[in-house]
Symmetry: C2
Subunit: 204 residues, 2 copies
DNA sequence: CAGGGCAATGAATAGTGATTCACTCGACCC
DNA sequence: GGGTCGAGTGAATCACTATTCATTGCCCTG
């Protein structure tokens, strides 16, 4: 039997501290980017000593891998839900792009940190994985559309990658004109990109 | 009057050394990425002492800003020339995308270093600038097409950004299937993305 | 109430790599 | 020749942070 309640610090409290650290790390990059997220800064924000961070995470990289993974996972789930609503493939892609764009525009620093800011190689790997997940989300839709004959014979993987990359680039770079125009343009862009084809009538 | 030819080391020789350093830096990132490009490694490759690098460049960042700028400039010129050939806007966009893709696929490590690898903030700024140039190259074409009524009423800036981002993403991530298929898909993608519209007949 | 375990602490350490600078050496000028 | 110039050198230094670990103090147990 594992003896419980031995120490004054319960498992629950430890979990709370852990969460505080993750949250602090998340908030730090959301506010000032990854470059500002030194272990010291994160620890201060979480209200613990720097050494305590290492009681919960083996390294800074692992901490942020978790932060990245959670943030990306949350978004992905959210968009996946939206994309699973009934409708044509074109509509669903549009809805996914719109939701992605709106959420990204609402948290630009976080999005930059998660998607483009220079980071540790270990985090870069995590990014790669999450990009793959985004790609797959859209690729699945496109595959469905192509198989059902609603879309032309595009390559789902490549097209999905290009849509994701296109969104990123457009969302990341110029804080230029209005958000609405940007969202509308991206929807139009993605709708166009997946083609008009109707192979049941005009196979390639 | 400036006294010339005083020293044994002529201006030409100095220029040669400078070029050797730039070339070494370029080759280093083309071969093993930016992460491998320490000042020491670059100096060794160039056949000079580390200190000599600082005789020609005020900092590592400035050296690589020049490397990045030159590499991007060369590519940009090349693609600009291709894009300026006669033809429809759609054809010219396709030709630009194809050329970009082929050249990128031929030098993946360099392309990764130039476009996506974690780098100094100063280099990140240079990237931003070169991305802007790429965007403008395509945006100009699209603007032309929209004004001429060959394209639907897309937003040239945003669409151009998305095309550039889409290319990047698709080219960077999976070394999966054949290059030809990738190139073909990207051409199709960009052609679709700029829309089919013919406002002179069917205004949006 | 004493003992002991454990999480928290944060100052010190370590590792990395850019940058400096005192010195060398060869070539040009007088 | 002797003196000066200045590019070249590369080991030493600096700066920056992630990481460690000896110490502290709290809170349970017996």
């Amino acid at each position: 039997m594992v003896r419980r309640r031995k120490a004054s610090v319960t498992d629950e409290e430890k979990a709370r501290t852990r969460e505080a650290i993750v949250a602090a790390a998340h908030d730090q990059i959301a506010q000032d980017g990854y470059a500002s997220a030194s272990v010291i800064a994160v620890a201060q924000r979480a209200g613990v000593a720097t050494g305590s961070v290492y009681r919960y995470f083996p390294s800074k990289a692992e901490l942020f891998v978790e932060v990245f993974r959670r943030a990306a996972g949350r978004e992905l789930e959210l968009i996946a839900e939206i994309v699973d609503q009934p409708g044509s493939v074109r509509e669903r892609v549009g809805a996914g792009v719109e939701a992605f764009a709106r959420r990204a525009l609402a948290a630009p620093t976080l999005v930059y940190a998660l998607m483009a800011e220079p980071v540790d190689p270990a985090l870069e790997a995590e990014r790669l994985a999450s990009k793959g997940a985004w790609r797959e989300l859209f690729a699945g839709l496109l595959r469905e559309g192509v198989e059902a004959g609603d879309l032309a014979a595009i390559d789902p993987e490549i097209t999905a990658a290009a849509i994701v990359g296109g969104m990123q680039e457009a969302l990341l770079l110029p804080p230029g004109a209005g958000h609405e125009a940007l969202v509308a343009s991206l929807i139009q862009f993605s709708s166009n990109a997946i083609g008009h084809g109707d192979p049941s009538r005009q196979p390639a």
